[in-house]
Structure formats: C-alpha cells, structure tokens
C-alpha cells in the first residue's frame, strides 16, 4: 500500500464527519447570537470532538476587547447557555484556539487587520487557508462586509459564508445581496441560515414523509382537507425594537421559518437527500405558492394583556417602539400551492408574538370519512383525523383517530396516539446551530436556503406588503395572551373551518 492512498482507517469511524482544518471567523462576535447560540454550539462540537484538530475561532466585532476578555465572556456564555457542562479539557482545547480582533465593518484598514490576523492564525493552527465566515451582522453591514471578504479572498483553501437572517428586507434588497454574493462567491460557498431547518423535528418531517410508505398515498388534495401551520411565540420583542420595528412578523418569521415549513410539508419526494435535490423540490413549492388576496391575509398587533399570570405591556408600550407603530406582530394567511398534488387545498399559516404559549406545529387535517355508518349522534364526538407534527416544544408526532367508547352502544370519540421524541429517544438533541455550523464546515448545504428560494419567499411577502400599504388597520387588535385578532378566526370560519384547539 502506498501512503498516498486515502486513509483506510477512517472508514467506519465517526471521524468521517470531522471537517477539514479551518478557521471560523464570527463577525458580530460581541452580539447576543454569538453568546447565546454560536459559541455554546462550538463548545458542544468541541466537547464531542467533532471539530478538526487544526481549527481556530476568530471573533470580530466593533467592541474593543482583548482576546482574554473575549474568551472569558465566551466561557460565561457557554456556562449560561450551553447544553453541556464546561469541562476544563474541552474548554481549554477550544479557548487556546480562540482569538479576537476588533473591527469597524466600514473601514478597510480594519478589514486588513482582520485579514492579517487570519493569516497569522492560519499559520499557527495549520488550517490550510480554509475559512468559514459567520456573518452575524446588521443587514446594512452585510453587503460591504461581503464585498470586503470577496476582495481579500485568496486562492488557498476553500471559503464558505454563513449568512444570518434577515436576508434582505424585500425582493429587491435580497436580489441585490445575492448579486453582491455572486460577484465574489459561488452559490456553493454561500450558506443562508434558517436555524429552523437545523432542528431535529423539522428534519423528522422529512423522515416522517419519506421513510413511511403509508403517508405518501394520502399526502395530497384527495385525502387532505387542509394544512395548518402555527409558529407561536409567548415572548414579546425582548428588547429588539429597532430590528422588529423594521421587520415585523412577516419578515421576522413568515418570510423564512413559516414558508420553509410550508415548502417541506408540500414538496415532492426528492430523488435523493442531496442538497440540490431537496432545494430543487422546495423551490418548486415556493414558486407554486399562490399569492393570496387581501382578504386572505390578516395582520395584528398585540395590546396589553396577561401571559402566565403576569401582566405584560402592549407592543406600542415596549421600549423603543413608536407609540403609533403600525408594525404587525401577528400574521395569518391562507395560501395555495398551485400544483397537481395540492390544488384547492388551503394551507393556513399563522405566526405571532405574545400568543398564549410557544408552539410550532404542522397539522395535516384529513377529510372526513365519506359515509360514517353509525346511528345519528353516535359520532358527534368525532373530529377529522389530524396528523400533528410538533416542531417545538414537546417534539413529536400525534395522530387523532376515532375510537369506540367502551360500553353497550356504539359511540365514537376522537383519541390521540402520541409519539413523543422525549419518550422514545434520548432528548439530548443537538442544538440547531451545532448541526448547521458543522454542516457548513463539511460543505453540506442541505439545510440551508438557496438564492432562488429566498427570492421566491420575498416575492410572496412583497405582494402581501403591497396590499398593506392601502389600508391602515386599527392596532392593537389582539390582547397579549390570546390567539390573535378575531379576523384570524374569521379567515377560517369563512371556509367552514377553525384553527386547531390548543
């Protein structure tokens, strides 16, 4: 055997999933996302030895601080937000590979300083010029940063960019950002993150659909009455007024998480689990999404109310929010996917803040049995079959079926069969960011959004926002702690349906 051959010892080992040597540079490293999600995720990867030996992390942000201060802040962040205990050997391994360099994103000299630092770190940790840039920066800084990184890229090693949402604020800005990216980077080098796609249960939706032959024959307009997708948040805007005032619920959640859930629910089976195959199928759904009319979209804004027994302020009373703000904190819509599988099958989607509880679910409601042969009244307690995918919390799947109530007569009622991840598998599920960071380092873009997906999503959002410019609703129109404005219920009632009971 010659030593130039591939390493045969790696076969069969988990090391096959260990990425190549690289540096991950986080722009926006002093921000909340880095402390809450990114660094705890990196630590968990280090804890499980999923990172390559030749590896380094460089934090970069406007804040002036030393490497020691950054590492200390990150240790506290891991202690507070990480899912694994901070063990000295794992932490030391990561900490010695971690450095910090302050930068002004609009200043070329600072960008040069970052580039010089990366060359030095690359030499120290032998990362072969491979770079992951995590762009957790405000939207206005994104194009310039992409340009600066593009100008400074070298031919040595590979480069991958992780782009945090929001990806633009409308179709035009998303196209402009895609164009800037395309100027300097190939599409295969760009990883547009939607952390929902990294969640185990979102991936389980694909397992549920494509690993179980019983669902495929009924996963269509013939058997499904409608689909309801809910992304409900109990929290308010958590001090993010400057962002939220610009974004609102439609850009914060609807444009990305909600539409991605629609795409995953409605997509055709891909020929394989390859990134392009899955994204090709998703984008077909997004393209086929029927733009709803004004009557099919409801927006709302929460007023004061009660959550968990505590009185909470209305949106307009939140710090930093304009007292006459017209930003929506709730959106519900009826969408149609115009293709053979789904024609005339409505997808009702809703998302909102300050709803009674945190919940993300996909409910597939089947058509009623065509002719129940029971006596009148016997099946009054029977509801249609519903396959419910719980994305969060209580990850799992349940199926509502009709069953006979024990006794002399024939009375039917609905019962739930529950499959809970927490009751079946160890609940030690990896955080979405762990999976997504590792996938980027491995070059696997399956769980990331492609340029055309983003643009299709914005296209739908632009059409909705265009309707909104024509009227001025009376906000607030729902109290915190309720399930949204009454118009949202009317949207369903008009079709003889109602939102799922919670």
């Amino acid at each position: 055997m010659t030593v130039t051959e591939a390493n045969p010892l790696l076969e069969g080992l988990r090391l096959k999933r260990t990425p190549e040597p690289c540096i991950i540079t986080i722009f926006g490293a002093s921000g909340d996302l880095t402390a809450r999600k990114l660094f705890p995720a990196l630590y968990s990867l280090a804890f499980r030895r999923l990172l390559p030996e030749h590896f380094a992390v460089v934090g970069s942000a406007r804040s002036e601080m030393s490497g020691d201060e950054f590492r200390e802040a990150m240790r506290r962040a891991v202690e507070e937000h990480g899912r694994d205990p901070v063990r000295d050997d794992a932490w030391d391994w990561l900490a010695e590979r971690t450095s910090y360099v302050p930068t002004e994103f609009v200043d070329e000299a600072h960008e040069d300083r970052v580039a010089a630092h990366l060359v030095e770190v690359d030499r120290q940790w032998e990362t072969q010029g491979n770079r992951v840039y995590y762009l957790a920066v405000p939207p206005m800084a994104m194009p310039m940063l992409v340009g600066e990184l593009g100008k400074r890229r070298t031919s040595q090693g590979w480069t991958r960019l992780i782009i945090e949402k929001p990806f633009g604020h409308d179709l035009a800005s998303a196209k402009a950002l895609n164009a800037t990216l395309a100027e300097h980077f190939a599409e295969s080098e760009v990883f547009r993150i939607d952390h929902y796609l990294g969640k185990e249960t979102v991936q389980n939706l694909m397992a549920l659909r494509f690993a179980n032959g019983i669902f495929e024959p009924v996963w269509n307009r013939q058997f499904i009455d409608h689909v309801q997708i809910t992304v409900a948040e109990e929290i308010g805007i958590e001090g993010r007024a400057s962002f939220y005032e610009q974004a609102g619920a439609i850009r914060d959640v609807f444009q990305n998480h909600l539409l991605q859930l629609v795409a995953l629910t409605a997509m055709e089976p891909p020929p394989d689990f390859d990134a392009e195959s899955i994204r090709n199928e998703k984008v077909k759904v997004l393209r086929a999404l029927h733009t709803p009319g004004p009557d099919d979209v409801v927006r709302g804004q929460y007023g004061p109310g009660w959550i968990d027994g505590l009185e909470v302020p209305g949106y307009r009373q939140e710090p930093g929010v304009a007292p006459d703000s017209m930003t929506e904190t709730y959106v519900a819509a009826k969408l149609f996917v115009d293709n053979w599988r789904w024609a005339d099958t409505p997808f009702y989607v809703r998302t909102g803040k300050r709803l009674p509880r945190r919940e993300t679910t996909i409910a597939i409601q089947f058509k009623r049995a065509p002719h129940p042969p029971f006596e009148e009244g016997a099946a009054d307690g029977l509801r249609p079959n519903v396959l419910l995918v719980h994305v969060q919390p209580d990850e799992g799947v349940s199926l509502a079926i009709g069953a006979k109530v024990p006794g002399q007569g024939m009375t039917i009622r609905t019962v739930n069969m529950n499959f809970l991840y927490g009751g079946t598998f160890r609940t030690d599920l990896p955080e979405a960011y762990e999976r997504l960071i590792l996938d980027t380092m491995l070059g696997d873009a399956t769980l990331f959004m492609r340029a055309d997906e983003i643009e299709e999503q914005w296209s739908l959002v632009d059409a909705i926002v265009a309707f909104w410019r024509r009227d001025r609703p009376a906000f607030p129109n729902y109290a915190a702690g309720t399930w949204g404005p009454s118009a949202s219920d009317e949207l369903m009632h008009r079709d003889g349906r109602s939102w799922r009971r919670h």
Binding site: V3, E11, G12, D89, F419, F425
Partner: protein, 297 residues
Amino acid sequence: MTPTVLGDWTGQDVGLDEVEHELSLLRSGDDGTEQRTSVMTHIAWVPPPWEAQARATFGDLGEFYPSRTILLLPRPDDPDGLDARVSMQCFPLGGGNSVCTELVELTLRGSRAEAPASVVVALLLPDLPAFLRWRGMPMFGDPVFERLAGLVDRLVVDSREWDEGLHGAYGSLAQHFGEHLAVSDIVWARTLPWREAIAQAWPGVAEADELDVSGPEADALLLAGWLRSRLQRPVALCQRDAEEVEAVAVDGEAIVEPSLPRPSSGALLSGELDRFGRDRFYEAAVRAAAGEYVRHA
C-alpha cells in the same frame, strides 16, 4: 437517575399467560402511561455471576430506550419452574415526559433453563427489533445459545467477559456473522477512541508492523485485528495486561491518548442498541483477530 417503579408484580411457578396478563395491565394505567412508545425488545442472558452487573447496566440503560427488557436468570440446578417479576420503570425527563421500560425478570429453574427461547418468543414485541445481550462467554453450538440467537436481530457480547481462549472464541463468533444476525461487541465500542486516535496518525501508521497495547487482551486483539484488516498487512501484537487500555504504540511510536472520559457500560451498550445493520469493519477485525485474516485483492 432513579426511576419510578410501577406495577411491581412477582410470582413463583407461574405460567407465561400470567406474565403476559401482568404486562397488559401495565399498559392500562390511568396515569397516562398507556400511551407509550417502545422501540425494541432487549433480552439479557444473565448467569448468576453477572446478575449485579446486569442490573446496574439496566439502570444506566433504561432511561435511554423505552423497551421491553427481559432478564433471563438461568438456575439449572434448581427444581423445575418459572418465577417472574414484572414492573415498569419510568425515568422522568422533565416537561412531564418519561421514558418507560417494561422489565420482565424470569428465573428459569431446572429444565426451563434449557429452552429459554421458547419462553422468550411469546414475549417479543411484535414488529420491533430484538437484541440479545449475552453475559459471559456464549455457549457456541449449544441449543440454549443458538436458539436464542436465532430469535433476535442483534447479538451483543462483551468479550472482556470471556475467560480465555479468545482467538478460538472470536473464530466461533465469526461463524455467526450473517444476514439474519448482526453482532456487536462492547469491547469494539470501547476501542473506538483509540481507533480514531490511530487513524489520526495516518499516514505514519500506513506501513505498521507492530502494535503495542497496554490493556485487556480482548481490546488488544480487536485493535490488532482492525489494523490488520484495514491496512491489509500482518501486524504483530504485543500486549501487556491492564484494566483499561492505557497506552498504544505503533512501531514504537506512542499514539496520543484520547481525551474523552470512558463511557459507562450502559452508555456503550446503548450505542450498540442504536445500530441495526452489520458492521463489516468489526466483522473483518474479529476475523483478523481470530487469525482468519485474509489479504483481499
């Protein structure tokens, strides 16, 4: 984690119908536990010397998998009969969820110990994989072992539990590799960090001639078997006894010791229960450890 024990029932000289009845009662509790998921039947053959360890492992394992665990406790020298204990152990997970495992302990007395497969077959969960954890050296060729192995999808052993004659035992084990039975050895799982560490030393180990292992014989043999089968070359083994693998060297060059803590027996067994297909790398290593190493074209 301490489980909540539900429906702890014991019976002496019982019939299987009574055991099945008790199991069905466990499914009809009014505490919500009737809506349970199971992922497998886990059978453990536990002769007396291994009983304490088997119970400890079950304690580690139960919280990982909702399953039916059947502990077979053979007592061939006792008077004929079947004693049983049936309970459900629920491990709280927070958020009101629990992982619940049915635990069936069957003491097989006298001749009942000669045909355990006939007892177990009635208790297998339908349509779910069945695993057999055999404590100690398997009784290769004996109907007790062969019939039990014939019932399950995966046989799990720990060759550190084998007394001596490991070369021959690995050879007998290799004869069971086949389409209908996958085999796991917990020693193989234990050696994973060392295999990874050796793999990291590539290409320095590409022309390896000798492997030095300070550790148990089983671990050393499987490491050597793995290296021979992967490199397709004869690799001599020099082994010094130790409780755990403490040091490994290839051609005199020390391999950097893996830094992760050693997982518990329960965690290792748990890892094996996550596997469903055959592991051709393990099978090749066992064959090579048994001296059955063949250079492939």
